[in-house]
Amino acid sequence: MNLPLTIKDTQNALLEKKFKAVELVDSYLDQISKHNKEYNIFLTVTDEVAYSKAKEVDKLLAQFDKKVIENNPLFGVTAAYKDIFLTEGRRTSAGSKVLESYIPPYSATSVLRLEKAGAIPLGKLNCDAWAHGASGENSDFGPTLNPWNKEYVPGGSSSGPAASVASGMSLISLGSDTGGSTRQPANFCNLVGLKPTYGAIPRYGVIAMSSSLDTVGSLAHTVDDIEIMFDVLRGEDGFDAVVKNFNKAEIKTKFKLGIAKEYFIKGLDNEVEKMIDDVRKVYEKAGIEVVEISLPNTKYMVPVYYIIMPAEVSSNLGRFDGIRYGNDRNSFGEEAKRRIMLGSYVLSAGYYDAYYLKAMKVRSKIIEDFDKAFKEVDAIISPVSPTPPFKIGQNTSDPLKMYLEDVYTTSANLAGIPSLTLPSTFSKNKLPIGFQLMGSRFSEHNLFELGKLYHKEINYKPETAI
């Protein structure tokens, strides 16, 4: 079966009875069993749940009713979740040996919302343990390989979510984004990825990493599909108190975009820089003005992030004591230990003011920069990663070098704003390179509009790697 790569094509094929949902699941599970051993993408495959959900979908289809899609916007859509989303009765490991046999007693809001909308859950996906990493190599269950070229990393920490969609093992996936963990792997795997506004999508049931930065990420092949996911996932759930209901932003008829001059730093790869210039030209050709803006505190994003994030990590991972569930603290991997200790350090007596308080103040300055920029432009064009995908093992011995991968992505988390990653082109080594569009808080629907416009202009066609 030639698997459709969009939600609409999948649902049309189901409505036209080209195949049944059960047969669709057969095909996806077949792809998983063919390639998962090699690429290490799924940690748990939930075929029983998938088939029972598929049978429900087939039943709905049998009583043919046009309202099926209206009431179930994701009906028949295969989905897989990063293994930090709690799934009741289905193992959730966070990519860590601490939780290697943990079966949660409840499910995350986002999981429940996708499945209520008709999605068919295929399983749980590999990731850097506790979502700590930018390559997938920090998983305690081994690295995931990039489906476009298995010598390269798929990005992280949502390595499995990106690799699963890129390899045709699932149509959509859920990741998380605390400092780029959805956008960077989407970028390395030629996918659309969304980091929503902080407070748009409830995080209840997502294992917490850094609570003032954590967001639920979505990955798919097209902007249309990301928009459908976003509208299913967003809004208050009564559990995550930072979430707020909001109306779809009015779509602008005239856009103005900005590129920060501070983005062109030493370390930015030539091919990535050229791609950003090409993106600018595409928008200009479409009649959209693109201007140079300034985000003067750009160089402090990573230092601020690597104080605030570990501080919150050390607190959130403090609860894992092996008493109520899971193994004890000796089971933490190296990167989790480093981040917990770094966090304890910046919060400890004598250092709090110099590091943590200072970082919270510089965070305010970063937010101010963005507020100022969004008075002038509707969205900002930015690289996602300074380089195309790198080789497995290339950055593992030097944690600081790996942290610098986050130079373009952490700002959206620190400022709480949405950012949409879009596939753009391939490097000379045939590896994906994309860019991101950052907008003001709750401007997601305008970012979607800009994303669709770009993909229309470059005649983008979704494809899988294997």
Binding site: S212, P303, M341, K361, P399
Partner: protein, 125 residues
């Protein structure tokens, strides 16, 4: 690998200091101290590996000291929301039943979690 027994007191004198907002190099005692604060037990090999790695990161994040922040208020969250309350009502859907709450461990006693003793002198009396 041999586990290092941390003494309860980390010698303060051997830990690094902040002088004029500039961090002096991280020491082995710093690493032992934060490991203790973090309830982590490190092997000798880990201490050897983590010391230079953490040192480099601390040196890197210390560059923030050059930013002028005298007049700036700290940001701890970005929602703009304040004091979100809910009704003080118990909803069955919002709580885990006892058996589910206990489902993650076998070490239970009369429907309660059994935990290691934290006070000395009362064991087996």
């Amino acid at each position: 690998m041999p586990m290092v027994k941390h003494s309860l007191k980390t010698p303060e004198a051997k830990r690094s200091k902040i002088v004029n907002n500039i961090k002096t190099k991280l020491t082995r005692e710093d690493v032992l101290h934060v490991a203790k604060l973090s309830s982590l037990t490190l092997t000798d090999a880990e201490i050897k590996k983590f010391l230079p790695q953490l040192s480099r990161v601390v040196e890197y994040i210390s560059q923030l000291s050059e930013v002028e922040t005298q007049e700036v208020k700290p940001t701890s969250q970005t929602t703009g929301l304040v004091n979100i309350f809910r009704e003080d009502q118990i909803k069955a859907l919002n709580i885990l039943p006892q058996d589910k709450a206990l489902s993650g461990t076998d070490i239970i006693h009369n429907g309660l979690f059994k935990v290691p003793a934290i006070l000395e002198g009362r064991i087996n009396k």
